[in-house]
């Protein structure tokens, strides 16, 4: 579908939000509180922020929840009775004010969950979300979307992309049929597109490395001393993986109470020592540098090779969340020069 451009006035944007809410849509939008911004379910319009650089947590929770109930089971003498989760009950959800990097993050997840095996749980949630993007007009030194092939006004993954113009009104780009349906239902709020383009209203994020070069270098860098030298300070927590919009590793655990139980899919992180440990006690990734290497290789070598997608969208969340300053951008810049 060809991208259609329209104008939506600041006041009309509020009306659009309220209209979507009034129709019974659940909305997930960024709200700032105590200096931190996080997406929140059904905030009032006044609470929604348009000025944040990045939320601490990503949006992956909406399609890949931190805990997903896969099945329920019951055991008795005659055997095991399994109840499937009714995925038709998944509610539709409007994601509001999503930065272009986050919108592209869904594609990275899709390349994993919809790869050789089509994951129903992921897919039924993905079908139900509508993404209303918001171009970035601010960035910080952890942002590097332009280095991974994205940009602050990118439309990838969005159904509608809004860009704040100099007047304070918004340029709306309608990208998909889903986006078009939203606009059609509220056509009175949209006006003819202005002549002002979005390009002048975007954050300036300079390209700092070439990801193709990084991928190329990684192919021969498995045994390089770089990994040990640069990860001695890594303490092996999962903060980076849990805030990452593209990290998709999970662990399946059964939780039982008496004869009933459920099978859960929980977020996991390759940074944890327990991630690879075998029952025998042997751990193929015995030390933290090997786990850190895995994290980078997975995102910049294995995923481009197998899934035809990078496992990183340059949002910089991991660098901001890391308690010991394992800055991924800094390391990628060094890896490009390796």
């Amino acid at each position: 579908m060809e991208i259609e451009k329209k104008l939506i006035k600041k006041a009309s944007l509020e009306k659009l939000f309220e209209k979507l809410q009034a129709k019974g849509n659940k909305i997930f939008a960024p709200v700032s509180k105590d200096g931190k911004t996080e997406f929140q379910y059904n905030p009032s319009y006044a609470e929604v922020t348009y000025d944040h650089i990045q939320t601490t947590q990503s949006l992956k929770n909406t399609v890949f929840p931190k805990i997903e109930n896969l099945i329920r089971f019951k055991t008795d003498r005659s055997g095991v009775e399994v109840t499937e989760v009714d995925l038709t009950q998944v509610q539709s959800l409007v994601l509001w004010g999503v930065h272009p990097c986050d919108a592209a993050g869904f594609n990275a997840l899709k390349s994993i969950f919809m790869w050789d095996y089509k994951d129903e749980y992921f897919n039924s949630r993905l079908q139900k979300i509508a993404v209303i993007g918001l171009s970035c007009h601010k960035s910080d030194d952890n942002c590097f979307c332009t280095s991974v092939g994205l940009n602050p006004g990118g439309t990838q993954g969005c159904d509608i992309l809004l860009t704040k113009l100099s007047s304070g009104d918004f340029l709306a780009e309608i990208i998909t049929e889903k986006g078009k349906a939203i606009v059609t239902e509220a056509s009175e709020l949209f006006e003819t597109a202005p002549s002002e383009t979005k390009e002048g209203n975007l954050a300036q994020v300079n390209q700092q490395f070439s990801h193709e070069k990084v991928t190329k270098n990684l192919a021969g860098a498995f045994e390089h001393p770089f990994w040990v030298e640069n990860s001695l300070r890594c303490i092996g927590c999962g903060a980076c993986a849990f805030v990452c919009p593209a990290c998709a590793c999970f662990d399946i655990q059964d939780e039982t109470k008496g004869k009933n139980g459920k099978r859960l899919r929980c977020w996991d992180s390759c940074g944890f020592g327990l991630f690879t440990i075998h029952t025998s006690g042997h751990n193929p990734r015995e030390v933290q540098s090997q786990r850190w290497r895995q994290r980078i290789l997975h995102k910049f070598s294995y995923m481009p090779e197998r899934n035809e997608s990078l496992g990183c969208i340059g949002c910089g969340r991991c660098s901001r969340a890391c308690p010991v300053d394992m800055n991924i951008l800094e390391q990628l810049v060094s890896l490009e020069k390796l």
Partner: protein
């Protein structure tokens, strides 16, 4: 009075309180049927998380009981347990768990009547306090994850 009957889990040691409770029975002393006794080798063996397991599984109150000081079958298990409870009570209180719902006691193998009294007073207290809905809601809030 209300119809509410509290569920009480008692964690007791094998050598003193369990034998004491046995004596209560053989002495034909009646006591509240609200209590479910779980026998341990020693109070020193009772991990603090077991208490939370009891609350998690719907207990409204808990009794922890073992040998009187200096009477421990393993000589010091109850002293270790005492320290653990001293510390754990402070943590529970700080995190907002109602420590009134947990009774600690020493009951020897000869104190059958005392065991009945402890169970009865604890049951009465919990009848007044009502069900531990706070914790039960906390547990419930996690069971049905939103789709």
């Amino acid at each position: 009075m209300s119809e509410f009957e509290p569920k009480i889990v008692a964690f007791v040691c094998n050598w003193c309180t369990y034998a004491g409770a046995d004596l209560t029975g053989t002495s034909r002393i009646k006591y509240a049927a609200n209590v479910k006794i779980i026998r341990f080798p020693c109070t020193g063996r009772i991990d603090f998380m077991l208490l939370m397991k009891a609350f998690q599984n719907g207990a409204d109150g808990i009794i922890v009981s073992g040998c009187h000081p200096n009477d421990c079958h393993y000589s010091s298990g109850n002293f270790h347990a005492k320290r653990r409870w001293m510390v754990f009570r402070e943590l529970l209180d700080y995190m907002g768990v109602d420590i009134e719902r947990i009774t600690f006691s020493w009951v020897s193998a000869a104190e059958g009547a005392r065991w009945a009294e402890i169970v009865n007073t604890t049951t009465d207290k919990l009848r007044k306090l009502g069900p531990y809905t706070n914790y039960q809601n906390l547990v419930k809030s996690g069971i049905e994850e939103e789709l």
